[in-house]
């Protein structure tokens, strides 16, 4: 049973098609990345999953059932546009949002304290939201999303605006939640995090799916034609005919090969004139795939 299943979903605002024929499913206990450039329809898709908007055609299923508002109590949603009541005290705010998700006051209070401790912001509890720093507000928002222990966690750009420390804290928390069997969907355009965290991805551009599936399958479907080399000395080996293109940095280079088999020959040539400290043959990074796919799609459309 898929936790989230979208089938041929389409949504248009007036003449602008936000999402077109979108289908994917998310397996329980997995971490799913919804990727795409700005304005590609990520937020529109998410809004349809939680019933803020209704698709023009196609179906959305949550927890294996046709969309039903009562299932929303099992969903935690962190919107891209963060928002809290500025004048409200943090604890009141958390309790209020918890109650809206079906918690009683006692449980909500208890969990709010536990989470604040875990997020290292206990000192914020009695304060008003407007008195807090932006990072703290983000954490409060994050807690509000998780307070009712949702089975499905949907986060729209959760890492935007977080410093590295908080970013890591959030990432660790998400990994913990997955370990507990929660299903997590997040949208982002930061590929390094997706590569580290996600089991499956769906890449959309201009409302359409460009690429979708398990992370490993997607990556292995690309040829291992990337080489990262760190070296000191002569760089003439970069003119090898087996190299399609390269980028040369201070003491390293990123190489794209015409053919996987050219790698060994290039290494042999390189060690004749330079001291090689690292040589790695690999699949393209997700970032490269992203740029390639979205860029190609863009050219076709434009």
């Amino acid at each position: 049973m898929a936790i989230v299943q979208l089938q041929h979903v389409r949504k248009a605002y007036d003449t602008k098609v936000a999402v077109d024929d979108l289908s994917f499913s998310i397996e329980p206990g997995s971490m799913f990345g919804l990727l795409g450039p700005n304005g590609s329809g990520k937020t529109s898709s998410i809004r349809m999953m939680i019933g803020i908007t209704v698709p023009d055609s196609g179906t959305v299923e949550l927890f294996g059932q046709p969309f039903d508002r009562k299932n929303l109590q099992r969903v935690g949603y962190l919107p891209e546009e963060r928002g809290l009541y500025k004048k409200m005290k943090v604890i009141d705010q958390l309790i209020f949002l918890g109650q809206l998700h079906g918690l009683d006051i006692a449980t909500a209070t208890k969990r709010a304290h536990v989470w604040c401790e875990r997020m290292e912001i206990t000192e914020a509890i009695p304060k008003k939201t407007e008195e807090l720093s932006k990072g703290m507000q983000q954490k409060i928002q994050f807690i509000a999303t998780l307070l009712h222990e949702p089975d499905l966690i949907i986060m729209d750009e959760p890492f935007s605006g977080l410093d590295p420390v908080n970013s890591t804290l959030l990432m660790d928390t998400l990994l913990d939640l997955r370990k507990q069997g929660r299903t997590i969907l997040f949208s982002t355009h930061r590929m390094d995090q997706v590569e580290k965290l996600c089991d499956a991805i769906c890449l959309i551009s201009r409302g359409k799916i460009v690429l979708s599936g398990g992370m490993r399958e997607i990556k292995s479907s690309y040829p291992r034609n990337r080489v990262q080399i760190t070296f000191e000395g002569d760089s003439t080996f970069l003119r090898n005919p087996g190299i399609e293109e390269y980028k040369l940095y201070n003491s390293s280079a990123e190489i794209k090969l015409r053919d996987e088999s050219a790698a060994q020959q290039i290494l042999a040539q390189a060690i004749t004139g330079a001291q090689v400290t690292r040589f790695e043959v690999m699949e393209p990074t997700l970032e490269e795939i992203f740029i390639e796919e979205v860029g190609a799609g863009g050219k076709v459309d434009a």
């Binding site: 508002r69 929303l72 546009e81 009541y85 004048k87 209020f96 928002q141």
Partner: protein, 414 residues
């Protein structure tokens, strides 16, 4: 498990009641209004004309009589110099005195013709009250002189010239009772303005609260579990409850203040304001209806605009219909049962203020009241239908303000 609407209403209520703004408006509005009314009543009571003028006439008798009338009359306490008969230099002398501000003006009575010609000259263009006082006094003096010429005795003349007091009674539920028009009028007047302020204030509060949630982007978080309709209703109920609380405080304070002890302590015994029980019920009932109507409109506006500044431009939409009630306040008060008053009070945007006013100063037929309530409920229903639709789409629209065709298209989204 409490419903979402209730939770939202409760949050809205508690957050608002705790604000300083609530305390301030609760205290300040009735204080300003009560103070203002008290001031104007006391002032108008004591506003006898107190100018210092000169009266110039050939007829010394007439001039002295007029002096007496102006100095000790019913509504004047003027100081009057009599110059009779005038010498050729008199005119230039009084003109000089007037210019030097030794006197406020001079009254020249020319009795050479059969009907005396009276001219009042002063430096003020618009001293209406002095002019009225003089003309009233002049008429009484002329009448007295005329009656004297016809041979009536001074005693007879005095009786004839006595002012007549008219007492007012009203019939309510078949019983005739003494009524004090002044009291009833003041009570209605105070509550009319309180109603105006309350509907306006809390209607705008709904719009403001929606904009606040829009700018702080709380909406999206809320919409993950709550329906837009639940949010809107919760908000209306919450703010409405704040309004009722405020009115409750005002009514309690009014009852307390109008109790005999305090009124006489303030020394305003003659202008005590009395609120009857049906008047208070009507007040609360019409406040609820008026609030729902205006806050429904305000909610739609709030969902359409993006900031308080933009809201200001739409203030008129709410202020205008209420201002219309102010314009017709005079005709309705002077004739609360006329066709004009009835029609105006049945227009839903005016009903809360005008029908309420009519109820408190006259006996309104039950079918008028029923019709007004039915009409209001229908209008509220229609407004809410539109608002719910605009709200649902509008709260998620940031940035540009929608154009009218866009708003019409929103109505079609489901």
């Amino acid at each position: 498990m409490p419903s979402n609407t209730f939770l939202i209403a409760k949050r809205e209520y508690l957050e608002r009641v705790r604000t300083k703004a609530f305390v301030i408006t609760t205290l300040l509005i009735p204080m300003l209004m009560g103070g203002g009314i008290l001031f104007s009543v006391l002032k108008s009571k004591n506003s006898k004309s107190a100018s210092h003028i000169a009266v110039i006439s050939q007829d010394t008798d007439l001039a002295l009589d007029l002096q007496n009338e102006l100095e000790h009359g019913k509504d004047s306490e003027m100081r009057v110099d009599v110059i009779s008969p005038p010498s050729p230099e008199t005119r230039s002398a009084v003109v000089a005195q007037t210019v030097d501000k030794q006197i406020d003006g001079f009254l020249w009575i020319d009795t050479s013709a059969t009907a005396p010609k009276t001219i009042y000259t002063s430096v003020n263009h618009a001293d209406i009250s002095t002019k009225d006082t003089i003309s009233g006094a002049m008429r009484r003096v002329m009448m007295r002189q005329g009656l004297k010429h016809h041979g009536l005795g001074a005693g007879d003349i005095k009786t004839m010239m006595e002012p007549v007091e008219v007492e007012t009674d009203t019939i309510k539920n078949g019983e005739i009772s003494k009524s004090d028009t002044m009291t009833a009028f003041l009570g209605a007047y105070v509550l009319f303005f309180l109603m105006y302020m309350a509907v306006m204030l809390h209607g705008m509060n709904v719009a403001r609260s929606i904009i606040e949630e829009k700018t702080s982007r709380v909406f999206e978080v809320m919409l993950a579990t709550v329906k837009p309709q639940e949010m809107m209703m919760g908000k209306l109920f919450g703010v409405g409850a704040v309004g009722l609380t405020q009115i409750g405080i005002w009514v309690a304070a009014a009852i307390l203040l109008s109790s005999q002890v305090i009124v006489s302590a303030v020394g305003a015994g003659a202008i005590q304001i009395h609120f009857s029980f049906p008047q208070i019920v009507a007040f609360i009932g019409y406040f609820i209806l008026g609030f729902l109507l205006y806050s429904g409109i305000a909610a739609a506006i709030g969902a359409m605009v993006n900031s308080e500044q933009e809201l200001q431009q739409f203030n008129l939409v709410i202020a205008m219909p209420l201002a219309v009630c102010m314009f017709v306040l005079g005709p309705v008060i002077s004739n609360p049962s006329s066709t004009f008053s009835r029609v105006m009070s049945l227009i839903p945007t005016c009903t809360p203020l005008l029908m309420y006013l009519r109820i408190s100063i006259s006996n309104v037929a039950w079918y008028d009241i029923v019709a007004s309530i039915v009409l209001m409920l229908l209008t509220i229903w229609v407004v809410m239908w539109f608002t719910a639709r605009i709200y649902r789409v509008g709260i998620l629209m940031y940035g540009k303000r929608p154009t009218l065709p866009e708003i019409l298209r929103w109505l079609k989204y489901s």
